[in-house]
Symmetry: C2
Subunit: 320 residues, 2 copies
């Protein structure tokens, strides 16, 4: 939940006048997107999401994120499209921060993902990866190995505040992964944060994907690994191989998974578990008391990492 | 800002199926209303606000609040209307809490109230007071003298944590007001929380009043006094008599203010300043660390109380 910036009436009216979208009739801060301030804004014509980008998003990355959304939408992939102002620009400024208006997407994210959701996700993920191949911009994943090393160095000294075994776990895992991380798997633009709260459904239909503010160039199979972690564990911590199989099967039907990708999946799953363990641990150790955002439990991802460490091969994920 | 309850997909679908409003296409928690969880919900047909009533609202008071909204809307006063389910009931249950769906209201609350807003507010307030006269239910104001005494007793011992002069200020003020509080002014149902964030505007038009969860029976002039405090002070703390005059003039044009009400206004303004000082002080002293809601500054209302203590007569509010 996050609304960090309070917009004055005048500022909002002036900002919206730069677009050809009609007059604002309503604008409410919504509890969506932890990194930015988001408002559900209605004009006489349609509904939109107004986003003010807060400090955690780098201004210089915004053209990539907005450009990727626009590119995807143009290929027919359902995601929010940035709205361009009368001067053709989508990225503008509001309350001294970068800001953009994007189209509103119907649908709800699943509070409890079921096998159907996972199947639909696999299909959409493959379509997104294919559609991204014609996108000309690139952005390195700053939350891969080098980024993890920074986070391990920042967190390990205080990791014992959460759990005694965390410091050795993250240090050892980083060394293990550093020595083995793949170098030449099929790659392209990935969403990199494809958690259930970023995927909308309407009944039995995936109605869209949102929140592209971690998108970057990385291995496609790393995205699959993120989704194994984010979608295929039950609340109690058990891995649901049926969900994994349905997700991967649906993905493969649209974009074949290579033997090298299959072989790398257990390692990539460990890497993605470490990545979310580290950012959650960092947030847990560094969130200001009294902040609006309740930090997510890092231990959830420590348990997922332990699961992947125990896996003997890609068969554990339902792959043949 | 507040979304306390997470609704599962199934629970939401089942809940909405009890109404004849179509299928839900979107449901987002909004940063509005501190006491309850509010969601902006869209169906194929229209937009609604779904409210889950959290612990601070007493279940037994809800029929009064919802009934008053429905009554006002029926008289043509613009406010949200509770939507009744197929069985005729507006108050239902969701996630184990009382819940209701109310109609969505266009408009935005003014981040900086200007004189026009104050004039429109005075007019709407009078219309609301008149419309309420035919509402058959009653609810005592639990945040009047007896309620203040409870809050003074709860807060005074720790008031020094905020400011040294607060404990004597609230104790002395309570005794002063207890000895003088009026007994027989014109009364009826008042909103009792008519702050700018509860009044929506569209350009030069007041488009509606929301959040009736403090509504109660009390003196009409006490509502005027609340609004003098909530709308007529500048951010720097100065009282803007032009705003007060416009508000009171517009009110009088619809519902005459009696000489007794005029004479009581300075005292009622002190009382309403004490009321918000006390609830803010209580929240300040008792909010859990790490809570979502940032407590409001009690000192703002200590300063307003000081202003009203220095007033020599109703002329200070622009009244003749």
């Amino acid at each position: 939940m996050a609304v960090y910036t309070e917009i004055s009436d005048d500022d909002l009216a002036k900002f919206v006048a730069e677009y050809d979208i009609g007059t604002v009739t309503s604008c409410k801060g919504i509890a969506e997107g932890v990194e930015n301030s988001n408002y559900l804004m209605r004009t006489e014509r349609a509904s939109y999401i107004l986003t003010i980008y807060e400090k955690r998003v780098k201004r210089e990355d915004l053209p990539f994120f907005l450009g990727f959304m626009e590119h995807l939408a143009r290929t027919g992939f359902v995601c929010p499209t940035p709205v361009r102002g009368r001067d053709g620009r989508a990225l503008r400024s509001l309350c001294g921060r970068p800001a953009a208006i994007i189209t509103f997407l119907d649908g709800m994210w699943p509070r409890q993902a079921n096998p159907t959701h996972c199947r639909l996700l696999g299909d959409a993920m493959a379509r997104m990866h294919l559609a991204g191949s014609s996108f000309p911009m690139t952005r390195a994943n700053d939350l891969s190995l080098a980024g993890w090393r920074k986070l391990v160095n920042a967190c390990a000294p205080r990791a014992g505040e959460v759990n005694d075994f965390l410091a050795p776990l993250i240090r050892d895992e980083l060394e293990f992964l550093s020595a083995r991380w793949p170098k030449d798997l099929p790659a392209g633009v990935i969403h990199a944060d494809l958690f259930p709260d970023n995927v909308f459904f309407l009944g039995e239909r995936l109605s869209g994907v949102i929140d592209f503010y971690f998108a970057c160039n990385d291995f496609f199979a790393y995205e699959l690994a993120i989704c194994l972690n984010a979608w295929c564990f039950e609340r109690e911590g058990d891995f649901n191989v049926t969900k994994a199989r349905l997700m991967l099967q649906a993905y493969r039907a649209k974009r074949p998974i290579t033997p090298a990708e299959i072989a790398a999946l257990p390692l990539l799953a460990r890497g993605s578990a470490l990545r979310f363990l580290l950012t959650r641990l960092y947030d847990w150790l560094n969130h200001p008391s009294g902040a609006f955002v309740r930090p997510k439990d890092p231990m959830e991802y420590a348990k997922k990492l332990r699961f992947h460490q125990s896996v003997t091969g890609p068969g554990a994920y339902g792959l043949d």
